[in-house]
Symmetry: C2
Subunit: 436 residues, 2 copies
């Protein structure tokens, strides 16, 4: 993409009401613009990041055996009345009346609707187990939206739902999602630590939040220093015993949010106990027959008996992750995108748009990178070099490829790694080889 | 995908309130379920078609030079008050009050917001021309939603917006979208005929509806029989003169909706005039400075003068197209998907899930098709063969590959083309070769 044909309104100063680094940087780097309190438009660069994150989430859901579908944003209040949640939900639910006077709402989550849809379509034990998911915009009318897309009102969420015939099956589905979550966040360049979370009235140990570490995190978290090491998430999820063993090993090391601290265990840990701030990026939850019972979902068993399926739900904050990744990966000059979620892999800078040789070399490299399928943002504008560098640092693409008149004379271009700052001069051919 | 792990609730009888073929078939084939009047959940199979259509629309927008972004579904009423449209829009706008008492609405379209966003980011003539688009859910509170997703309340639309410095530039943007639309619909296996449409108060000839022909279409259309021939849409859109010549040639042959008929021209046409029913699947429109003026958008010109940009908008009904394609392509047994939008290319049927040789051959073909990147839906369930055939005909995948015990004895499988009904027996290897 040529910047001369793009829409990238970068700014030097963030608005005064932006408090956290990711919010400031997302506004400065032209990723988003607020259109109402807690509601954002995703400008082209931000939209690309959102789509990359969405793709990784989708691929790992598919790999876990979940099947994608798409429920609407606007729901009938009937679904929520049937489960008793309509009145209970409180003022965060955006309630709407249509022109016929029917009660609608903008879905904050989808347990009620998915249970009704699956109930109407699944009749036999052979229709289970199943995992269904969708990636759809949600709305929660936060009283005080803040931190940009990290706590917005309209936000993109992946929510998956599992239906099983018994608790053992429910645990397998839960474990598959547990693994999918570890893999999902790792692929985004994040280390997410699963921490036991409240399960509410039904009890049990099947609820985890996935927390990434960032100095500006919303809450304090406490964990064993083993969590600082890289971990492999290589396990055959179709092997039930291996899967359970893997999940057990992943929950063996202490990790707790502020609300779930265990003073005794922490005392034992001594200086292997670490403390940080964290951001919740995912939450998984097994809640049994809460919704299937309320909505009268039953399937016929092998012997003609009727079975009430057990459910779990599994959420990832897709739009929130854009902010969370920036919190975990930025410096004084701007964003430092992990390559798998970077909007483009390479920022190509022509230092002199008025120099024929520079234009020719830059155009040639651009064409070759595009032809090789490398995602490249080409700053071909007639601007000062300093401003171009500042923009590239701010938007944080993994590689900067710089073409200047002096280099061309010497037969070299300059390649800089945004994360490490490493810079090298090399021939255009060698640069291409490194980037393709 | 194995049907034993999928969610495909097909039904024999459509609900009584479904009138048109596409609505009946979408319900019967388990593509969608209605969750409130005019609001649909997209079940897994329907979701895949929606995504295929979305991808084709996206690719042709990108090819036309439009840049993707994403605006939120919920808009502040302020944008619409600034353009004077808030009161004017009428009861089809879903108006919402949030917990703070602020006026919001579910966007039925985005001219107001995109103009404000682009105004705040584009300052100089060098920031133009630009085309921006998004693919986002919209809501129109139809008094009488009907025909399933063809006239729903929550629907997915691609809307693009062009910003140009002068009318000549605006015409180029318009022409580029004109070509993009022809290509988009052709890739979906549709013949869409551009028909001149009302331009409203600003006049001019720059407004076209794109209509596909279907017996069950919502309105009557009239056109020269030349439109029955296949056309090539091969033109270099960067060559302004060639582009204009191409658009002129495409609008030379008579084509008009009921509202825009020209009796004199029709009389001249004699028996070269054809009549059919049609469905509108796209609408493009140049409206000049209507919104830029209302919202005070100006950019500085080369000489320091201030220029009010001119705009066009370009809509495709993405979710509506799912229904429209079915209207144009179905038979008594079900849907007949054009391959580019089919949810899967191949339906693999194992006739005998209790026969070891059938299972082995089917599993092997499934693995090989998947490995080759062929999208295949594998009916591996323990059901009667007749029911499996009926389901495959109903969901309309382009190819049916059938494995049965008699064929295996003779070393053959059966391959059927859903559209033509052509059936042949051939070796498993030959079938693979044909499908990969």
């Amino acid at each position: 993409m040529r910047l001369s044909r793009y829409f990238l309104p970068v700014t030097k100063e963030p608005p005064a009401d932006a408090q956290v680094a990711s919010h400031k940087l997302m506004l400065r780097a032209g990723l988003v613009r607020q259109t109402s309190a807690g509601i954002y438009a995703w400008l082209p660069l931000g939209h690309r990041v959102l789509k990359k994150i969405e793709s990784i989430v989708r691929e790992e859901q598919d790999r876990a055996g979940a099947v994608e579908m798409l429920m609407p944003t606007i729901q009938s209040a009937e679904y929520w009345r049937d489960t008793g949640r309509y009145e209970a939900y409180g003022p965060e639910m955006l309630r709407i009346e249509d022109r016929q006077g029917r009660d609608l709402l903008y879905g904050p989550t989808n347990e009620d609707m998915i249970t009704a849809l699956f109930r109407d379509g699944a009749k036999s034990y052979r229709d289970l187990p199943r995992m269904l998911y969708h990636i759809q915009w949600k709305f929660r009318d936060e009283i005080r939206p803040r931190f940009g897309v990290m706590r917005g009102r309209e936000f993109l969420m992946k929510d998956a739902y599992s239906f099983d015939l018994d608790e053992a099956g429910g645990r397998i589905s839960y474990n598959k999602q547990f693994v999918a979550y570890l893999r999902t966040f790792k692929r985004m360049g994040l280390r997410a630590i699963p921490m036991q979370a409240d399960t509410g009235p039904i009890g049990g140990d099947l609820s985890h939040e996935f927390i990434i570490l960032a100095d500006s995190g919303e809450s304090e978290v406490f964990f064993h220093k083993n969590w600082e090491q890289d971990r492999s998430y290589d396990v055959d999820v179709e092997d039930t015993a291996a899967l359970q063993g893997f999940v057990d090993s992943m929950t063996a090391d202490y990790a707790a949010t502020d609300e779930k601290r265990d003073e005794e265990r922490e005392a034992e840990l001594g200086d292997t106990l670490l403390k940080s701030r964290g951001i919740e990026v995912g939450h998984i939850f097994f809640f049994g027959d809460k919704y299937t019972k309320a909505l009268g979902m039953q399937v016929s068993g092998p012997g003609g008996d009727m079975i009430t399926p057990l459910m779990g739900s599994y959420g990832v904050g897709v739009s929130r992750l854009v902010g969370a990744i920036i919190e975990a990966s930025h410096d004084d000059n701007g964003i430092v995108w992990p390559e798998p979620v970077a909007p483009y892999k390479v920022g190509l800078i022509n230092m002199r748009a008025d120099d024929e040789a520079c234009v020719a070399t830059s155009d040639d490299l651009y064409a070759k990178l595009e032809a090789a399928g490398v995602e490249v943002l080409y700053d071909d504008r007639d601007e000062r070099g300093g401003a171009k560098f500042a923009t590239m640092d701010l938007i944080g693409l993994p590689w900067q490829l710089v073409i200047g008149p002096r280099g061309i004379k010497n037969g070299v271009v300059e390649l800089t790694n945004r994360a490490t700052g490493e810079r090298e001069e090399l021939s255009a051919e060698s640069a291409l080889e490194k980037l393709v």
